[in-house]
């Protein structure tokens, strides 16, 4: 990832809000893993149970989370960046819609639908181009994946 720090700008004097958030994120992941690993028998070091590794890794992750958090609190660092919810929503949405429609209706619906939803993520989308492209690309994928590669992906599957 290109480093988000712009030397000399705002970031220098502030606390590392990015690290603070990053540390909290790790703590949350670790806590949820610990919670779910609690039900697993730990065993002993000599005869490890299923829970031994997940639990120790989760605890280690939590410790690292605290470390990152402390660094963020004590040292100046990068500020927390704004999230782009538009991109997040439509890109992930298009993937989810693809997943939900491909077996139900087939690629012929899932393909263009997911590309159109994906297109909404970008304010610069030229709808005419995207629509034409969605149709062409779906046809191309059918030829490529179904006809040429013979992958068992549903093509037309609706009433």
């Amino acid at each position: 990832m290109s480093q988000s720090s712009q030397p000399g700008e705002e970031s220098a004097s502030k606390r590392g809000t990015q690290d603070i958030a990053a540390g909290l994120f790790l703590l949350a992941v670790a806590a949820s893993a610990v919670f779910h690993a609690l039900e697993l028998p730990l065993g002993s070091l000599r005869a490890m149970g299923p829970g031994m590794l997940p639990m120790s890794l989760a605890v280690l992750l939590g410790a690292l989370g605290i470390g990152v958090l402390v660094i963020g609190l004590l040292q100046p660092g990068d500020p927390f960046e704004k999230w782009s919810f538009r991109g997040l929503a439509f890109v992930l949405g298009s993937i989810i819609v693809f997943a939900l429609t491909v077996r139900l209706f087939g690629l012929i619906v899932a393909g263009p639908l997911s590309m159109i939803i994906a297109g909404m993520a970008d304010p610069q989308t030229n709808w005419k181009h995207t629509l034409i492209f969605a149709v062409i690309l779906t046809a191309f994928s059918i030829l490529l994946f179904k006809v040429a590669l013979r992958l068992p992906i549903p093509i037309i599957n609706f009433m």
Binding site: R103, L104, R150, P152, N157, F158, M159
Partner: protein
């Protein structure tokens, strides 16, 4: 979600009703293989499907849906539309051992499927590392029994053929080895060849070349007759453990409710495949044992599945093994 999808696809099937009136099959048939491509079940499925496609005049497309010891693919088959266009290659694990191994199993092998027919069994062998100090099965069993948990048994993961068939061996012969789990037959076999572990049980097709090459030694084959692929390996009956009779069988199933004439047509195509010289030859080369005429019927498979479930349940329950 699943149920909605199933409901919708059932609706779709009814809507497509008129199309179904045409002679079956009028479009490609999907055969779900609940294991990864390239394994013994997959290979057998592809060989059989190849010939059946010719008889049926429609392609049988193999769809590998691996996961959770084959139960993911079996669940999907059980829940799919019973129109004859989704069938599966079931197996000793998915339709014999699974009910005992998986307490939350979403299907019942005896109730949720229509049997199509037995395809092939692959015999199980008892093999050991080449330096194991026993010259035949009797010596092996005596030594393994005396050594108790000092001896190491490799298996390809909880619920795998090598795991369950060795559980049966251990129960019948009174062995209590330390079990070393691997992820798949490859790594387990690798460590058996290099002598890290002492013995394992597995399907003949995985072992035959290693035995012929002298990398491991075979003590017995768990079938009534010797295998033409390994004529020097005695049967368990000859070697002194006659009750150990087990093979990793593969059989075709359709979801419950598939019309009788369709399953009959599929059974007919399967029987033709098993009579075809080239198909027979290819299956036999794998070391597979093919069912006789009586064993190829749908009823024979239905009865057999019931017997297998009844046989594996106590063995697995007693061992305390849980798959999931």
């Amino acid at each position: 979600m699943r149920t909605i999808l199933t409901a919708l696809s059932v609706a779709a099937a009814f809507a497509a009703g008129p199309a179904m009136a045409q002679a079956y099959p009028n479009k490609p048939i999907t055969m779900i293989v609940p294991f990864a491509a390239g394994g013994p079940t997959d290979v057998i499925a592809r060989i059989a499907a190849d010939n059946m496609s010719k008889t049926l005049g429609q392609q049988i497309v193999i769809e590998n849906v691996a996961g959770a010891g084959g139960t993911t693919g079996s669940t999907r088959t059980a829940q799919s539309v019973p129109d004859g266009y989704t069938i599966m290659m079931g197996h000793m694990g998915t339709h014999g051992a699974a009910p005992a191994l998986y307490p939350n199993l979403k299907y019942d092998p005896t109730k949720d499927f229509e049997p199509i027919g037995m395809v092939a069994g692959t015999p199980i062998l008892i093999v050991a590392k080449k330096t194991f100090p026993a010259k035949d099965l009797k010596e092996f069993l005596a030594k393994a029994k005396a050594d108790g948990d000092k001896i190491n048994e490799a298996h390809a993961g909880i619920g795998s053929v090598s795991h369950t068939t060795c559980l049966l061996l251990n129960a019948q012969a009174g062995l209590k080895p330390t079990q070393v789990p691997y992820k798949g037959t490859g790594p387990a076999l690798n460590d058996l060849v290099s002598g890290q572990v002492d013995f394992m049980c597995d399907q003949i097709v995985n072992l035959v070349e290693q035995i012929k090459g002298g990398n491991i030694k075979a003590y017995a084959i768990a079938t009534p007759e010797r295998s033409p692929a390994l004529p020097d390996v005695p049967t368990t009956k000859e070697a002194g453990l006659p009750e150990y009779q087990v093979s990793a069988w593969n059989a075709m199933f359709a979801p419950k409710g598939t019309p009788k004439d369709i399953t009959a047509k599929l059974n007919d195509a399967l029987q033709k495949a098993l009579a075809d010289e080239n198909t027979r030859k290819r299956l036999l080369e794998l070391g597979a044992v093919l069912p006789d005429k009586a064993g190829q019927t749908q009823d024979a498979l239905g009865t057999f599945v019931g017997q297998e479930v009844a046989r594996w349940t106590p063995v697995i329950k007693a061992s305390g093994a849980v798959g999931q």
